[in-house]
Symmetry: C2
Subunit: 318 residues, 2 copies
Amino acid sequence: MATITDVSRLANVSKATVSRVLTGNRGVRQESREAVLKAVETLNYRPNIFAQSLANEYSNQVAVVLREADVNRLSAHLPQLARGIQAQGLEMTLGFVASSAQIDEQLQRLSQFNPVATIVLGVDDDLSTHDRVIQIGMGEQAIHYDYPFACESAVRYLLSQGHRQIAIWLDDDEPKIRDALLDGYRQALQNQSLPFNRQLVVNGPHDSEQSLLELLNRYLPFSALLVRRDSDAATAIRLLREFNITVPQEVSLMSLEDSPLAVQLCPPLTCIHYPIDSLLDAVLDRLAQLLHKQTRSPQTLLRGNLVIRDSVRTANHR
Amino acid sequence: MATITDVSRLANVSKATVSRVLTGNRGVRQESREAVLKAVETLNYRPNIFAQSLANEYSNQVAVVLREADVNRLSAHLPQLARGIQAQGLEMTLGFVASSAQIDEQLQRLSQFNPVATIVLGVDDDLSTHDRVIQIGMGEQAIHYDYPFACESAVRYLLSQGHRQIAIWLDDDEPKIRDALLDGYRQALQNQSLPFNRQLVVNGPHDSEQSLLELLNRYLPFSALLVRRDSDAATAIRLLREFNITVPQEVSLMSLEDSPLAVQLCPPLTCIHYPIDSLLDAVLDRLAQLLHKQTRSPQTLLRGNLVIRDSVRTANHR
DNA sequence: CTGTTAGCGCATTCAG
DNA sequence: CTGAATGCGCTAACAG
């Protein structure tokens, strides 16, 4: 590989000038600049990032921490994220955490790369105290998704379709999100002066049939079921069918995700769309701001929209 | 951050000795070694990877190139791969390619990290010429999945269930795999002295209803359909249902993937399981061999096994 | 505007 | 077995 010295010799300038041309674009005569650029071209020179990072304070790396449970959902967007990061001249390094408990461990591991920024996706903990952290989640400075709004919208829609007994399946591995969803659920009912029935709320891990069995075992009739994940919806469709309950004829179903799976199921799911794209764009915006030392943007809040498909039917009013 | 100088001072040895203890374990007095190790501990010293990589020829990075189309399938296993790599004291850097055409571009980009090895997943091109490349695919030295075997097994199973008109949906974006599958298909028929009917083979992109419509438009009766991807199976179930053809009552369905989606569908899919786990384990084995400069392992070939669920019924013999 | 110089932290000679 | 010295490639003062 060609080094900066090779370039400087070929361009008849000093290494410092080459460095100036390639990094801080200021204060170089046009003539010299062109000579350098030409030499760079002909030698196909690429700066050695290790030498660069060693000489500088930090590297061209952006650390990205993912919850393993979110990897499936996010992974389809990883290329998008990587491209966005590369568009800013940076590189992406991944760290995986099984649970929030491991976040510090990963952060420390990733610190060996001296990243210019750290992006944390899907971790509930508030990381505002850390420096140069961009977070999607519930933290102080995080990019927020409006879960209450999503849940309220879903319930509101089901109510508009005549449903009165609306069950909701919440997962307990993300307590803050769980609470936010429950808030939205109660809010929607309250706005219509409808009673809140604790029996219609089940907690349980994702994709677990048990949670649903628990609901069925309560012998409480419900005409609609709201779940957070499309995969939960898939589980629900399967299990309900085994109990001879068809979706949407007997029970309407809504999810708060709208992943590719939503259209693959029978019936295709009516959803409040979780806008990963937009969230990641917001992340990239923040990253750009952070690099250019602009003022910190205020808390970002994004909302989902209603996507109507076939898993909701109007309820038979009695 | 503590540097090697700090450690050397605290341990009352020279930087060289510290370096020796931490890398090449040879030729250090037990006494000195312990002093160094203790100093490392108390200072919580971590070598600066940039300085390390600069001084050395190469880095602690392993480059991993993924086809974007495979990201969804592989992503759930990315943490597994990352852990396996980290277990060998290395780090993983990702590169995404939309098509095989971009592979060289990514390889060049990743070369800036001076990776000790490059892992290429799901790219058809033969990369044997490149140095230190570990590949899952069809290349000369690649880790192979036995596609013909998988396809033959599936057809064999369907035949055993009385099916005689077995349609197959192949995708054309991976020609080598397509051909391999077709080989297996023909082989299975040949073994039973059954005729091969070109009309039962459709080509088309993944998740495209058109391919399936094409098949239906041929008005050729078939009692079973074989697809490569679970998502294709999902598409098939949905489309067939819209034509009032139920799975598995009227058409049996098999896939060659068995991803998490396979059990989420109605009916759950009978599959030949594609063993990503094992393939990645094979990759990690190769990586270990490559690091320890052992002899190159012979070509690796892995096979899938039959997973019986509910999407295949015995055919009504006429 | 530009060249010279001095490190960044580490591994690796080469003498002891 | 060990320490001093050298250089990896680059950036950032500091003088001109």
